[in-house]
């Protein structure tokens, strides 16, 4: 009976192989005139088996997006608009999507971790200091697989630790006895325990040193391929995404400003912000590198500039940029960017090369 109101029969994925669809998502912190619009109208589609990278400076709303999509937002944060639809595996095109934001409490609880799991940004504080590793790895099993015996749960926990390269003897260890890298790997193992369809990883390696970071990333990608799940990988390091992501979305001030296949975005970034972000990370580097490629500071979320929020820092800004808010426009098959300068250039090009064809409104323009 409750299936009826959470399922959305009319909702079929725009893409046949979509597993998670985010539409028009808006998240505010606080209410009224002083609300911070941390996520300000985001559309994203995660395809089955894909690694979708989300990049952007700190404060651009990446974590907020992840929390909102997984219903983990805490006050004062609140989702004010938008839809998140999950398409379970197997049943094919006919299977209706699940409206994640409308799931009632018990269905939400069952949905969590079995379908979508999260590796949080702060590994150091993500483990309960008074429970040992085994307990924290197995309690999700106990909650979702009531049929499993204690032995089976422990066997699974052991298996997972091996998967992430940690000595199984550490099962009885407490978090304070583990290094940062070990904790992060345990968080990753934990996310895999129920083999969910979707894993959201929020800067899983940011706090670690480069060597450990590399090693963990390699392992994550290997596991992803083996378990065949879809991943949303959040980071502020665009160059890292170049190596692991299939598609990359770049966020700025709560919006997606460019989205493209990884190689396209990394070789021919269209938005000046993507270009700047890319130039700040020549290769896989440590976490604390400053963004030398972009002048100025990220905007104050309480007082965003009018027009394109990036224009005060943009070397190519024109008068229109401080007036009109750019929307995503299609640059190619799977390439979109939100930049007035680029859009005008594309227009001009289109008109020049194909003047017979009038071009009223561009396809793929997202409503804003």
């Amino acid at each position: 009976m409750s299936t009826d109101w959470t399922a959305r029969p009319s909702a079929t994925p725009a893409d046949a192989d979509a597993v998670l669809e985010i539409r028009g998502l808006r998240v505010d912190y606080g209410a009224g005139a002083h609300a911070i619009h941390a996520v300000n109208g985001v559309d994203l589609t995660l395809h089955r088996g894909e690694v979708l990278g989300v990049a952007g400076e700190s404060g651009s709303g990446k974590s907020t997006l992840a929390y909102a999509a997984s219903r983990l937002l805490r006050p004062p944060g609140r989702t004010v608009a938008g839809e998140v639809t999950y398409y379970p595996a197997g049943a094919g095109r006919q299977e209706p999507g699940i409206d994640v934001l409308a799931l009632p409490p018990e269905r939400l609880r069952k949905f969590r971790w079995t379908e979508l799991s999260v590796v949080f940004q702060a590994a150091m504080s993500s483990l309960n200091p008074v429970l040992n590793v085994a307990t924290q790895l197995t309690d999700a099993l106990e909650a979702h697989r009531p049929g499993m015996t204690r032995r089976q749960c422990l066997a699974r926990a052991r298996e997972l630790l091996e998967l992430v390269n940690i000595d199984v003897a550490r099962l009885s260890a407490y978090p304070h006895q583990l290094s940062g890298g070990q904790r992060q790997r345990i968080m990753i193992a934990m996310a895999l325990v129920l083999e969910p369809e979707v894993i959201i990883m929020d800067e899983p390696t940011t706090s670690l040193d480069v060597v450990v970071q590399r090693e963990i990333l390699a392992r994550v990608m290997e596991l992803r391929a083996r378990l065949d799940c879809s991943v949303i990988f959040i980071t502020h390091d665009l160059s890292l995404l170049a190596e692991i992501a299939d598609t990359i979305a770049v966020m700025y001030a709560g919006k997606v400003v460019e989205i493209a296949p990884a190689e396209v975005l990394c070789q021919t970034p269209s938005h000046p912000y993507s270009a700047g972000l890319l130039s700040s990370f020549p290769s896989l580097h440590g976490p604390h590198r400053t963004l030398v490629g972009i002048p100025g500071l990220p905007p104050d979320p309480r007082a965003l500039p009018a027009g394109c929020p990036f224009h005060p820092r943009c070397g190519e800004a024109v008068a229109a940029c401080s007036r009109d808010v750019p929307a995503l426009f299609a640059l190619g098959q799977r390439h979109q960017a939100a930049c007035l300068v680029r859009e005008a250039a594309a227009h001009a090009e289109l008109n020049a090369t194909d003047s017979r064809q009038a071009s009223p409104s561009l396809p793929g323009r997202a409503e804003r």
Binding site: H34, S70, P75, P76, A102, P105
Partner: protein, 316 residues
């Protein structure tokens, strides 16, 4: 400038959390709890200042109307010797408050001295001062105070306040030490120390402003507990019980077995004054705590604003 004014006049919470460029100097003054608490405390302070001046009768004047329940003539009834209870409560407010505030001022001064010194200097000085603080924390204060007061005899209110201060400073010192320790680790303080800035400057300009909220909350708490201690000691008959304070009113009522006689009007009013003053002061602290520790801020307002079905992720 105009923008800043509107920001600061808005919800205190958002301002302090989001890190507005320039914080209002005392953001907690805008918390409704703090304002309400200050109102209650202000009422009793006025009672302390003007109480003895506006008494309807001489609080020590006996009369034939003994153990009268509240009436128009005696709003809070009379004692076993026909004294006016209202007059005693009004007159007693001053001594209770004066002892409470004096003890809190002196006690906090000791707490600041010990706590900040320990936290700032670290090392051996910290070890020793922390040890002293912790010893004072575990020794039960009441027997100690009683012993000292008995030895000293009746030395007047100031001596009593000093005894209370000397035996109750440790809670504040403990909190201040912890806070100072964490501030000392911050970059700008480290930098100031490395640059050879004189200690008094670093402490005065970097440490003190950052512990002000803790100093205030522990002072407020100190006032409450000092008044309760003074009342308890007077209730036991220590000090000069013919000086009117809320505690001495309770002492005399207990001495005459007022509760056996059912003369509730004799001992209820001073206790209620204490309880209301205590709640007012506690409200101030509750409000300040919520401002300095945003995690405690979970007001009803927030819950109502954030709707139910989809807004809050973790509805239970």
């Amino acid at each position: 400038m105009a923008a800043e004014v509107t920001v600061t006049s808005s919800d205190v919470g958002l301002v302090s959390q989001g890190g507005a460029r320039r914080r209002p100097r005392a953001p907690w003054l805008r918390s409704p709890k703090v304002v309400a608490g200050l109102g209650v405390a202000g009422f009793f302070i006025l009672m302390g200042v003007f109480g003895p001046l506006i008494v309807p009768a001489d609080p020590s004047a006996t009369s034939a109307a003994v153990l009268q329940p509240p009436s128009l003539e005696h709003l809070l009834g009379t004692t076993a010797t026909g004294e006016d209870v209202l007059s005693q409560v009004l007159a007693g407010a001053r001594l209770s408050l004066v002892v409470g505030f004096t003890a809190a001022v002196v006690g906090e001064a000791i707490a600041i001295l010990v706590g900040i010194t320990a936290g700032y200097l670290g090392g051996l000085a910290d070890e020793v001062l922390s040890l002293v603080t912790n010893v004072f924390l575990v020794i039960p204060v009441l027997p100690l105070q009683i012993l000292i007061v008995t030895y000293l005899g009746d030395g007047g209110w100031l001596l009593l306040a000093l005894v209370i201060a000397l035996t109750t400073w440790s809670h504040g010192a403990r909190r201040l030490r912890a806070q100072t320790l964490s501030i000392r680790q911050r970059d700008y303080v480290q930098a100031a120390r490395a640059a050879g800035e004189p200690t008094w400057r670093t402490v005065g300009f970097e440490i003190l402003p950052n512990v002000s909220a803790i100093v205030i909350t522990s002072f407020v708490f100190h006032v409450t507990s000092a008044i309760v201690v003074q009342t308890g000691l007077a209730f036991l008959g220590l000090g000069n019980v013919s000086d009117w304070s809320w505690g001495s009113v309770l002492y005399w009522s207990d001495n005459s077995n007022a509760f056996l006689l059912g003369a509730w009007w004799w001992f209820v009013p001073p206790g209620l004054c204490l309880a209301f003053l205590g709640s007012g002061l506690a409200l101030i602290n509750l409000g300040i705590d919520e401002v300095i520790n945003p995690r405690l801020r979970t007001g009803l307002k927030a819950a109502r604003l954030f709707g139910r079905a989809r807004a809050v992720g973790n509805e239970h």
